[in-house]
């Protein structure tokens, strides 16, 4: 699946997007974030406080409990500050 990162999460991860194949044990957005944390220092830094991480599946806001099965695109980003 395709992951997208925005704002300081993008800066910390060091890339705007990537394709990943998480193991089958990763079923929710929250578990995906935990799995990403283990992929390296930059990920650990980006996701050191999972509570502030917001997510969207296929461009719709979701909570950490949301299932990722069937998702084409998952975006992870900090709280929004537009307007």
């Amino acid at each position: 699946m395709k992951l997208l990162y925005f704002a300081w999460i993008r800066e910390r991860v060091g890339k705007p997007e990537e394709d990943v194949t998480p193991p089958g044990s990763v079923t929710t957005v929250g578990e995906l974030v935990e799995w990403l944390k283990g992929r390296g220092e930059e990920y650990a830094h980006a996701f050191d406080n999972p509570k502030v991480v917001r997510a969207a599946i296929d461009k719709v806001h979701v909570r950490a409990e949301a299932k990722i099965a069937g998702a084409r695109e998952i975006a992870l980003f900090p709280p929004m500050t537009g307007g």
């Binding site: 709280p79 500050t81 537009g82």
Partner: protein, 156 residues
């Protein structure tokens, strides 16, 4: 409904005028402009840079416009949000709403702005001399958006 995301300067008068052009049923036009201040949390800034999630930003705003249209009798909505580098004094966002009467236009414009602040995928970065800092979300913005949910519950 027209939702535009642009890196060009925004003309609020043109957005407002477009809502009333060639029609005589509009009795109220409300346009809110969000402007880049020269300070952030008390410290002067050189500029803001706005990042967005292309595709989702337009879709998320459109979902809230549909919600506003289901709550109030609106005759038109135009929202323009700027992205990229913006200097103090320039407009970041315009929300323009047309209705037959002012109550709906005022309420819908405020509703749309409150949701834009907390739900539309945009992120502000502040540029000061020599460094850039991401703007933190404000708890007050969440509270402003949440009060519309109370209205929803009370109406049920």
């Amino acid at each position: 409904m027209q939702v535009t995301i642009t890196s060009d300067p925004i003309d609020p008068a043109a957005e407002t005028a477009a809502l009333a052009r060639d029609r005589t049923d509009v009795g109220a036009l409300v346009a809110f402009s969000g402007v880049c201040r020269g300070d952030e949390a008390g410290d002067p800034i050189a500029a803001l840079t706005l990042e967005h999630y292309p595709g989702m930003a337009e879709a998320e705003i459109a979902r809230h416009v549909e919600e506003a249209e289901s709550r109030w009798p609106l005759l038109g909505v135009r929202i323009v949000h700027r992205v990229g580098r913006i200097v103090p004094g320039e407009i970041i966002v315009v929300v323009a709403v047309a209705s037959a009467h002012r109550e709906a236009a005022f309420a819908a414009a405020e509703f749309l702005m409150d949701y834009l602040k907390t739900r539309a995928p945009f992120w502000k970065q502040v540029e000061r001399t020599g460094k850039t800092i991401w703007v933190d979300a404000r708890a007050g913005d969440d509270a402003a958006a949440a009060r519309w949910k109370k209205v929803e519950r009370a109406a049920e």
